[in-house]
């Protein structure tokens, strides 16, 4: 069955008409020379450039139509575990759009961007204080990018001790985010997996057997992806350090402990912070993020280019060469300034007290939902503990009774007007649903969400087909992922083959 284009909003290439225009440039105010004199024929484009041709109103309607078909925090509850979908303050968007921040060139003279550098310098210091670390770099583009960089720092540390060749292993828990092992592999390490214990923490005895002269680092999320604080973190840190390894902190779950505990005090040597999670910068439908890294003293010499420093003579901030021990550069320019600015504004508005209230409320909201769900008794809860900012429960019972999977329940939840929790992660919990309400949601929303989860559980018992075939009320029903992967269609087709696609061509 071929997709019927009339069944969904038209693609850009199915709108418009050849010759239609939306934007007019100013008239060319310099003399023109024949293009062949400037660019020889073999260097010029010969292929036609087939792009849509629309009026401005058509473009506005197109993207407004698409916006209406998109779930977002601004639309409703979005309790994706490990994603911290909190409210993104509007004032930050306003500020980021000001020309004084958005219209700066990265290679401008440092004297002409002192305001921007001041924000970066202060943010570095705030993040160090929040994480309990000594120095920070704002360069990484995202959490995974920060992980890769953090592991490069760890590698450089071992190299200077003559141990790079023997310390080949990075240990990650079986509950770790997928980026942890992927980053370790990218940084040239072998990945060793440490199991979790029955309380959902790292199995300390197993870890003790695993560490040794081959250990480069342990990567840990704390609270972990089960939403549980690693109660034995001090023993874990000591175990790894005694073996000569370093501790890497995946900051994806930092929202749970802001102002309450600090990774630096726990013994972590490198920390990344997801500014797009913890510090309320919008996720943008998948990005941009910012994955700032903070380190202990011993790792400062390896930090990447560029480093920010204050000239003692003039008091001015400038970028300086990080020196020969640096791991080099991991990104062009100086990081995602637009994201950094929003995170800075957020920290300034909240202050110490506000950040602590964020963590307390995030943890309150998660435990509240967990308590109501546990009391109702529909779902299995694998770990009998208070959670931190998120909790994991299982649809194992629904699977056994009706053959339904966590993903089916998730899809049905969409019909109730909620974005579902993360499904099928962490991998160590069968039919996992991982729920992170975030601190910005009201009690009414949480109550309604829990009621809907219980309604879905009841439907799973009484009318499982309704759940299996969900969603029923969204613009599309369950999409055929097998087909999408077997018959890859990754772009619109050649317009010559389809009359309904109306691409214009450049003259």
């Amino acid at each position: 069955m071929a997709a019927d284009p009339a069944s969904s909003p038209p693609l850009l290439c199915e709108r418009g008409a050849p010759g239609r225009r939306a934007y007019r440039l100013p008239p060319l105010d310099v003399p023109q020379r024949p293009v062949d004199q400037l660019i020889p024929a073999q260097a010029r484009r010969r292929m036609p450039l087939r792009l849509p041709e629309l009026s401005e109103l058509e473009v506005v309607r197109h993207y407004t139509t698409l916006a209406h078909r998109n779930w977002a925090v601004d639309v409703g509850f979005y309790p994706l575990g490990s994603c911290t979908m909190k409210y993104n303050p509007r004032v930050n968007e306003l500020v980021a759009s000001w020309p004084g921040f958005s219209r700066l060139h990265p290679y401008q003279r440092e004297e002409s961007v002192q305001g921007a550098l001041e924000i970066m310098d202060r943010l570095e210091r705030y993040l160090c204080e929040i994480a309990g670390m000594e120095a920070a770099t704002l360069t990484p583009a995202a959490g995974a990018h920060g992980e890769f960089l953090g592991l490069l720092l760890i590698r450089a540390y071992h190299r200077e001790r003559g141990e790079e060749a023997c310390r080949r292993e990075v240990i990650v828990p079986d509950s770790a985010h997928g980026t942890n092992p992927a980053s370790a592999a990218m940084a040239g390490y072998r990945v060793v997996v440490v199991p979790s214990n029955p309380r959902g923490g790292v199995d300390l005895a197993a870890l003790k057997r695993m560490v040794g002269p081959a250990t480069a680092a342990l990567m840990l999320t704390n609270p972990n992806t089960l939403g549980l604080f690693e109660e034995e973190i001090l023993d874990i840190a000591e175990t790894v350090h005694q073996a000569g390894g370093l501790l890497y902190y995946d900051g994806a779950n930092m929202n749970a402990i802001l102002g309450i505990a600090r990774p630096g005090d726990m013994g972590f040597d490198v920390v990344h912070l997801n500014l797009h999670k913890t510090f309320a910068t919008p996720h943008g439908g998948g990005g941009p993020g910012a994955g700032a890294i903070a380190v202990k003293q011993a790792l400062i010499p390896y930090l990447p280019a560029p480093r920010l420093a204050r000239d003692p003579a003039t008091g001015r901030l400038r970028f300086v060469d990080p020196g020969p021990r640096s791991v080099g550069r991991v990104k062009e320019f100086h990081g995602h300034f637009g994201v950094l600015l929003r995170a800075y504004a957020y920290i300034r508005m909240l202050g110490a007290e506000g950040l602590r209230e964020v963590a307390e409320t995030a943890v309150l909201n998660a435990n509240y939902c967990q308590a109501l769900l546990k009391k109702a008794g529909e779902y299995e809860f694998p770990y009998p503990r208070f959670c931190k900012h998120e909790f994991v429960f299982s649809a194992r019972r629904q699977k056994q009774a009706s053959g339904l999977h966590a993903i089916d329940l998730a899809k049905r939840l969409l019909d109730y007007g909620f974005h579902p929790p993360t499904v099928a992660f962490p991998l160590i919990v069968e039919e996992a649903l991982m729920c992170e309400p975030a601190e910005t949601e009201t009690k009414e929303t949480l109550d309604a969400f829990v009621r809907s989860l219980l309604d879905v559980a009841r439907e799973a018992r009484e009318e499982p087909e309704t759940v299996r075939e969900a969603p029923h009320t969204l613009p599309v029903s369950r999409l055929d992922e097998v087909r999408a992967n077997r018959h890859l269609v990754l772009r619109w087709q050649n317009p010559g083959k389809r009359e309904d696609r109306r691409l214009g061509e450049a003259p």
């Binding site: 969904s8 909003p9 939306a22 440039l25 100013p26 060319l28 003399p31 660019i39 010029r44 484009r45 292929m47 450039l49 197109h62 407004t64 698409l66 916006a67 998109n70 020309p99 004084g100 219209r103 060139h105 401008q108 002409s112 959490g143 995974a144 990018h145 992927a182 592999a185 309450i260 505990a261 600090r262 919008p282 996720h283 943008g284 439908g285 998948g286 990005g287 941009p288 791991v327 991991v330 990104k331 062009e332 320019f333 995602h336 300034f337 637009g338 300034r348 508005m349 202050g351 110490a352 309150l364 435990n367 974005h419 579902p420 993360t422 613009p475 999409l479 990754l490 772009r491 003259p507």
Partner: protein, 456 residues
């Protein structure tokens, strides 16, 4: 701030949990780790105070609205239609996560599918992913792909590659034991030296990188030959390109390149002091299973209605873990969507006009600047698009001081950004369609006087 509960609600929630206070929920944190003092941060600001503080910080920055910019080097000041930020900043796009539940995220997925389609079209290649962090990391990841696909350990980078791209590639390649060599350039054309390229290509070469236009602004007019040579040696070719230039210049796919990457900022994204921008990555269809990053594909729902989903997720870290093609997760979806809106508004004719205006304005500026006494183009036989290297009879850094004093963000002094004494008197000049003739003429007049604004 931004926390909604009243004290009564908080109490009710604690009661439902069955704990006397919130501290009880943190009891599993060892006592020695609990921070017994407030974080040392400045006092919280109200929104009005925050706006005041940030206004004063913004005022310390010389923005491009008030300071005509002749600096490029990877980030370009192009005109952005007003509708671009208006549409791209809608809350439904801004505050969404990665579209993991496709049925609830058809808007984002369709927008990214359209983005992929237009990037494939621009680059002349068959597939494009839905974005990378930036051009430099897109290049590094493309080179990982090439070394894996060919089983070879070395890549060739042009000496005229953007220096920050070279630094990023070097950082990425090192831990995997991969290496790189530089291909020198021709000192008259500013393009890659073909003879030296032939000598460097060999059985160890996984990939050749061709930047076009290169960091010096020069168009690689012999790109097709370089690509042939690399293919004859069994290597893949990755082109680093400027997306605006592709309306005018031969796209990578037409030249025979296997992969194309670049910084997509010129497509409707503001310079933003260097980010967030986005990287794009396009490839031949047969390389699709090796690509890093998210891909959106078309499919149908149960009723045969068209819809879009993330595809080939088994390449990605959340499924494949340490065997994934890359660790990338968060990408630059919003900047990619911004680029799609820009392309939709410009259309093929609009984009061609932008490219043409850049070309003519840059050539007008070049001919006027090169006719000043003591000035000349560093690569007299070179072909260029919107940037060119100018040799000046003064110290470029003092010239830059003078231009700054006159309110102009002048051409980029190249000394110390590029190794060698030959760059001591050279500047990289960029002129886009956003510069007016009046601004160009003023730049020429100021530079002719050694930048001095006295008497102007």
């Amino acid at each position: 701030m931004f926390v909604p509960h009243t004290p009564a609600e908080r109490r009710a929630m604690l009661d439902a949990i069955g704990v006397p206070d919130i501290a009880e929920l943190f009891a599993d944190i060892p006592a020695s780790l609990r921070l017994e003092r407030p974080l040392a941060l400045p006092r919280p600001l109200s929104e009005a105070e925050l706006l005041g503080e940030l206004q004063s910080l913004a005022a310390q920055n010389a923005d491009l609205d008030h300071h005509p910019c002749f600096r490029g080097a990877g980030v370009y000041d192009h005109l952005i239609p007003a509708a671009v930020p208006q549409l791209a900043s809608r809350g439904e796009f801004l505050t969404a996560y990665t579209p993991y539940q496709a049925e609830a995220s058809q808007g984002e997925l369709q927008a990214l599918f359209e983005f992929q389609s237009m990037m494939a079209e621009l680059t002349g290649l068959e597939v494009a992913n839905s974005s990378m962090y930036d051009g430099a990391t897109a290049l590094a990841e493309a080179l990982f792909l090439a070394t894996a696909a060919t089983g070879r350990p070395e890549v060739l980078l042009p000496r005229t590659l953007h220096p920050e791209y070279r630094e990023v590639v070097a950082t990425y390649l090192a831990p995997r034991g991969l290496s790189w060599q530089e291909v020198p350039f021709n000192s008259r054309t500013g393009g890659m030296d073909l003879e030296q390229l032939s000598a460097l290509l060999g059985e160890r070469t996984a990939a050749l990188v061709v930047q076009n236009p290169n960091f010096l602004g020069c168009v690689e007019t012999e790109a097709a030959r370089m690509i042939d040579l690399a293919h004859q040696a069994g290597a893949l070719v990755v082109m680093v390109v400027d997306p605006i230039s592709l309306a005018l210049l031969a796209p990578p796919g037409e030249l025979g390149a296997d992969l194309a990457v670049g910084n997509g900022q010129p497509l409707g994204n503001p310079p933003a002091f260097g980010g967030p921008h986005f990287g794009f990555l396009a490839a031949r269809a047969d390389l699709v299973r090796r690509l890093p990053g998210r891909l959106v594909g078309e499919t149908v729902d149960r009723h045969g209605r068209r819809g879009f989903v993330l595809v080939l997720q088994t390449r990605e870290q959340h499924i494949r873990r340490e065997r994934a093609t890359s660790n990338i997760c968060t990408n630059q979806a919003l900047q990619a969507l911004t680029a799609a809106v820009y392309l939709a508004l410009l259309g093929p004719a609009g984009l061609a006009k932008v490219a043409s205006a850049c070309l003519h304005k840059a050539h007008y500026a070049a001919s006027r600047l090169a006719s000043l006494p003591g000035f000349r183009l560093a690569f007299p036989e070179g072909v260029f698009f919107q940037e060119f290297v100018l040799e000046v009879p003064f110290d470029p850094f003092s010239l830059d001081d003078e231009l700054a004093a006159a309110g102009i963000i002048g051409p980029l002094p190249l000394y110390r950004r590029l190794a060698g004494e030959e760059w001591k008197h050279r500047m990289l000049v960029c002129v886009t369609e956003a510069r007016t003739r009046q601004e160009i003429d003023r730049l020429v007049a100021l530079m002719g006087r050694g930048g001095s604004c006295h008497g102007s």
